[in-house]
Symmetry: C2
Amino acid sequence: MGDKDSLVLFMPSGRRGRFPKGTTALQAARALGLGIESICGGRLTCGKCKVRAEEGEFPKHGIASSADHLSPPGDDERQLLASMHADDCRLACTAQITGDVLIYVPEESRAQKQIIRKAAGERAIAIDPAIRQVYVEVDAAALGEHRGDWRRLQDALAQEWDLTGLTIDLTALRDLQPALAKGNRGLTVVVWNEREVIDLRPGYAEGIYGLAVDIGSTTVAAYLCDLRTGAVLATESAMNPQITYGEDLMSRVSYAMTHADGTGKMHDAIIKTMNKLASQAAHSAGLRARDIHELVVAGNTTMVHLFLGIDPRELGGAPFALANRDAMDIKARDLGLRVQPAANVHVLPAEAGHVGADNVAVLLAEEPHRQDEIWLVVDVGTNAEIVLGNRDWMLSASSPTGPAFEGAQISAGMRAAPGAMERVRINGETGHVNFRVIGDERWSDDWNLQAAGHLDGRPEYLAAGICGSGIIEAVAELFLAGILLPEGRFHPGYVSERLVWEGRKAAYMLATPEQTASGQPIFVTQDDVRNIQLAKAALYAGAKILMKRAGVEQVDRIVLAGAFGSYIDPLHALILGLVPDCDPERIVAVGNAAGDGARIALLNRQKRAEAQQLAHWVRYIETAVAQDFQDEFVAAIHLPHASDPYPHLEGMLPAVEPVAPVARVRRFRSR
Amino acid sequence: MGDKDSLVLFMPSGRRGRFPKGTTALQAARALGLGIESICGGRLTCGKCKVRAEEGEFPKHGIASSADHLSPPGDDERQLLASMHADDCRLACTAQITGDVLIYVPEESRAQKQIIRKAAGERAIAIDPAIRQVYVEVDAAALGEHRGDWRRLQDALAQEWDLTGLTIDLTALRDLQPALAKGNRGLTVVVWNEREVIDLRPGYAEGIYGLAVDIGSTTVAAYLCDLRTGAVLATESAMNPQITYGEDLMSRVSYAMTHADGTGKMHDAIIKTMNKLASQAAHSAGLRARDIHELVVAGNTTMVHLFLGIDPRELGGAPFALANRDAMDIKARDLGLRVQPAANVHVLPAEAGHVGADNVAVLLAEEPHRQDEIWLVVDVGTNAEIVLGNRDWMLSASSPTGPAFEGAQISAGMRAAPGAMERVRINGETGHVNFRVIGDERWSDDWNLQAAGHLDGRPEYLAAGICGSGIIEAVAELFLAGILLPEGRFHPGYVSERLVWEGRKAAYMLATPEQTASGQPIFVTQDDVRNIQLAKAALYAGAKILMKRAGVEQVDRIVLAGAFGSYIDPLHALILGLVPDCDPERIVAVGNAAGDGARIALLNRQKRAEAQQLAHWVRYIETAVAQDFQDEFVAAIHLPHASDPYPHLEGMLPAVEPVAPVARVRRFRSR
């Protein structure tokens, strides 16, 4: 470069280089590999490439910068900046370098923006989606020149955006000529993975959106995201309609095996629900479903098979062969999804027959593979996926917890919806129960059932049932209060009006008739306790097997993810023996991490490559064939007591030994 | 290679090399780049790789060969060969080389077989379709190994067939595990373009088929081909149902412009017809429509746009912009075609707004671009596409002939179906008409209308109307007989019972009431003659413009393709002035060359690349903007007479000068 070239320094990246006068700031940034947003390609339409020239000496950076070292703005640029209240900025696409200048690129102008995820750990996501929008002006057709409009568009995309070798979806090709006519040869083009034109609109028309979906056995959650900012515009969830065909995975697999077109029915059901969620989410964000240009799907292996319309029967028995383990890209229309017809659905990869894309998504979101510490990550749904490890190694397993943690198989169980008891405290002296329901901030002790309105103390919702986190707290509190014995039976010597016996089985009243919506009391029954015990024992045994395989005695951090995850109280989880010992301060609940991971893969295509690597890197331990799993499971059925290895609960656990070992329990059907 | 390696010579290719003992003949052939058929991969199932070891001295080739220089056949091989009546052969996949040997590879075992096309010129087509079938045995799933069955299949395809980087269509993925189970881990896989698995079947299941379709404005023709042998298993044709929406291209374009969803309706109509043709063709070949794994489509630009569901309105006016000019590959299901759902439709490229994929297909079939001579290739349908050139240069044009050559716009016109008059002779002395109808070999003079049955001389079909070739011959014969004047009027001085006057217009009776099915006479009217004149003038003018542009006075050969092509008589075409002067011996009619070209592209994927190059290489001349087209057109409306430049018709044409120049005629609507 000549001596007369000017020094340009971009901050905060610190990239610098010398450029001939007349180079635009955008050209300079690109030459330095620095991404600055731009859709209109220098046509002073989009205003995405705002930058600021700094004034003064910057000895630390060896530059004396002046805002006058950019060519003066024209009227169009000035007006556009004023309309955006950014008079102190310049547009990088038109501002030419005339001398040494330090250019500050604000966050919103950076091509790889970051957004902060709200849940635990506040992690940043770099915005780099698989689809992008560009504006082009396409040559008019002329007699004697026969390129065809698609070739003309390809030429414009190559020339203006360096996009070459593109294909076009037939649906977009059908729109091409009408859009060219309407947009006066100007088009906003949506390009997937720098490979395919999937949509186009007349003129300048900003806006691309994506949907991240986590298909759980019980709940389907969808997140509509703005792919430019990463913002979640709408969150929708629904019951998985396949529940009609079977509550847990194994019953759905058997439905597929025993019914003609059972797979087809369950496939249609989930597609229908996803269409509903997509259209609801779009509607709440003021969009149409066809504005959704990209989807990412996570789910356990059975859910992903059914979503793809693949018979899951092989997952029902050893060796649990997946039809496909790797990530896939499928046109939305081929699945019957009513979004942008050429939209792509990216299905995250699986680790093994029972650790699916949902767990890979949890890893993307929580990143145990980037830690020095040893993390235990537990994703609880109808099945629990368990991951143990750090940056050097990682083991995974699946445990058949059953749906008790989601409030199913519990007599008064219900989903986490308004009126569900989610927090429970039991007075160890009196046996009095204080609780909170979803939808009301107040504890039941502060309710004024006689009051006329909510403001006077009347609860918004009376108790309607008990959800996953409520039952966990209730069982743990009953145990701490000495009402439950370590083996899980109600204490035969405990006397309270709330403890009602029927033969040899008892039930404890959590909510009195006045406190409930139905006017009937809400009990925790002996069977409820037993179901929670079985579920937590399966979870604990899975974690324990991984720790044994890895030779790990103690984990540094426990991450609880899943449907109940964001409500669960770490201390109660420990007291119940849901997880191995850990400093309660270092047990975090992160909510639907699988959904977060799907969203991350939606917003950043590099993360898809990372997911694919992770899926192959994590070593899967098949608990179904682990000799010691059954032993660990049986040993974990009782509730922890003073002699159990829970140093962090010292002094809190009852000293009582379990009365008798619990009989061997049938393995759950819910693989 | 060591000295002990044996010399192997393959004939007829002449490829030779030295190989270690124990190399199979198939491995040796592949190492020499010689393709030998094989589906089962050495499992002694398919018997495709039959070769013959020759016995004796071959001094010319420097080899002393012995059949004993192949390892002796095992029982399985012997039995398989016997079952194929090929006891003198060996299977290249198992026969190991043990000494110098000359191996003859019979035609049917060569990977690139050739078939001879039946139509004019008997051209050979090398069989190299875009899809192939391979048999693999896929590893069983095992606990502790989590590849997934698709990865296992990929590994088998890579190992056994060197096929890497494949994707799989979702419909094939859905079939994967059931097929593996049914085929006991053995699969026959259909691979498209070495890129994508589009179908799979349990066990060894040979058979791949394709459909070549030529979509004409009036007729749709479909050819079902065996992609292994190139054989045409079934030919089906149907009226293009879009005729309901307009007879010629321009009226269909205006239908699209003036009717909501006009494009959609015409798209649906052609798809429905193609589905019918596919299913009929499959049925006649004893197959199902879903056995069709690949399609190639040719058609004029408007037909291709409508087939793709693209609004053709831009083709209705200058600058006649195509939505897409290049070849496309589209999933059959995305077009609503009910064949193998993952089948690919290859749409041939176009040259310009009015010279479409059908003309490119004609070039593929007739290969004027491989000639030293200058060829004129004319494809006549509702529009005529005209190509002029040789291996060094080529010009193309489109001429709006209208549908007269297909029997439309003719008072007694009909399609080429049984009963249609296709040959006509008129006695110059008496005016007597002798004709032949489709469906009966005899001329009408040999009919015995009084006879009881066909064998006694009664015609199988009485005359029902007149088709394209019939009207051309009739007009030419009327002219030769002096009944028509060169300007196209009936001779006012000609007296015959057959010439009936009505005011200033006359009509000539071709068939008497007794000779027709309806009992009504069949006439050629003055308007019929005029319509044929207009059509032939458009064709002639187009050819003439190309000759002028190229500076060519005389063409060496004329190829007449199109619906009437195979019936037309070269001499009558000349007499009518349909084409410029040429030795009648060197005028050939080749029938539906566009259909042949589509079939060639179906059977050989290299031809698709050639088509794409041709489409760009041919220089298109826009007759619509050619100043001189209108003049040539008007000048060509009269019928040739002695002073016209037809040296090859010397002495045959009447010396009469045209009475008066024909008034300027409106341009046809049928662009």
